[in-house]
Amino acid sequence: MQEFETVIGLEVHVELLTRTKLFCGCSTAFGAAPNTQVCPVCLGLPGGMLPLLNKTAAEYTIKAALALNCTVTPNLTFDRKNYFYADLPKGFQISQFFYPMGTNGYLEIHHNGESKKIGIRQLHLEEDTGKLSHFGDIISSPYSRVDFNRAGVPLMEIVSEPDIRSAEEARLYLQKLRTILCYLGISDCKMEEGSMRCDANISLRPVGSSELGKKTELKNMNSFRSVFRGIEYEVERQRTILLSGDSIIPETRHWDEAKGITRAMRSKFVSADYRCFPDPNIPPFPVDTKWVESIQASIPELPDAKYYRFIEEYGLPPYDAEVLTGTKELADFYEEVLTCYREPKTVSNWIMSELMGHLNAAGIGITEAKIKAKDLGKLLQLVGKGEISGKMAKSVFEEMFATGEDPELIIKKQGLAQISDEDTLDGIINTVLAANPQSVQDYHSGKKKALGFLVGQIMKETKGQANPQLVNKMLEEKLKSS
């Protein structure tokens, strides 16, 4: 049977976390009453003020371009993309068609310990559209309502090269992109809330071929999971068509999350039909080197640099490093715990199993958790010193997660402290030995199992609080010398 290679390129749109729109001072705050955050500029009213570029939006986009290893344009220019649609009040969208902010970059994905670079063809700044709402099914809705609060909100589009070879790589690319943008603090990248949107260009070609096959563009994927599922479905659909000897119709397809299928949508304008031209209202703005340098200097350590540093500096396995650098907040938490308890792998285990398990169960992120990094470090110190057992530590952790209390306080309140005081243990051991002369005799006659029984009796006597290693050691010494 013919083997095919999957070729995917992703177009990702993210809303930037600016206070105001791209070309006017209207607020971008979410959840306002409809059409209350609009003005003559973003509504395209004739005779209105001229558009004035938002400095922060430009900075954020340059920041993203630098973080994604792009070449930054020496001149900021904007063009008009012309089309008519009810969510586009001006009849054109202001975008960077001719000279995108950044070009020719890449990001790196890690999969099963292997790394792969995915090219970024371009990254540019443009305006978002208004929001249409329908009643029930989009096809049978009797009319649509339009809210222009979102019209003109800064939107950054990031176009990858067709370097992605599977649905899994697409998911990893998207996750890495989100991680980087969140590290930069320029977007909250919430797919479910629409602040990050993803379209996929998908085609197949015979293995070994270097030509691109006919592609479809897949839209309406509203979560990381639906990006994965949508692409998997579309790849299989195309494979079936190609294997039957038919060819792919180039078209835009809609992912139907409920049915788990893709469906054809109306045919799209071809690119030339947008009749793009430089926006006469927005003269160019030279991007000077000093400005770019100051933006570069404001970029924090990025996930990949952190990932390699965690492996190098802390000797962590790649998997741990990937998980811990998943968000800047989690990585910071990890390193703060390390300042109190410098056992990188032990801390990593606790964070990945206990902490993340509890976070997932509670459905919250690390920033919303009550537990403090310093306190987790303190708890691990207590385990390390043998003051409490690992098992007790887990129940203390549970309480710390729920209340945010100091571990020592919880241990005192619950009377959980491990008995490591030799004098106390000595007394208890003597009592147990005196009460079990048969076992002592068995031990001396070579029945090693008797030792385990005696340890068990001591643990019972102390309600499990005796330090087991210490009990073992003391008990053996005592038996040998008797």
Partner: protein
């Protein structure tokens, strides 16, 4: 390059303009006249000339990211002028995405 009637009709359709056959004839001729004139530029040697996006040597001005409160009188006027509204929304014929 010659512009055909069909291309004029296509551009008119994109701009949602309806022309009579005579107008299409007229604009096809004018389109071609304009392009012929512009084509003279191709005779100039532009080897060392930067592409021009704006004829005036101006730079745009950047705006600080500070919100300006909405003008409620203006918003009311805008909604009042719309053909149809509903609960503060503009109301439009059904749009198939």
């Amino acid at each position: 390059m010659k512009i055909s009637r069909k291309e004029v009709e296509h551009v008119a359709a994109l701009a949602r303009l309806a022309f009579s056959p005579e107008e299409v004839e007229l604009f096809t001729r004018q389109f071609n006249d304009i392009l012929d004139y512009i084509n003279k530029l191709n005779e100039i040697d532009l080897e060392d000339v930067e592409p021009t996006s704006h004829v005036q040597p101006l730079h745009t001005v950047l705006r600080e990211d500070e919100a300006v409160p909405g003008d409620s009188a203006l918003l009311e006027a805008v909604l009042r002028e719309a053909p149809e509204t509903e609960n503060g929304f503009f109301k439009v014929p059904p749009v198939i995405d």
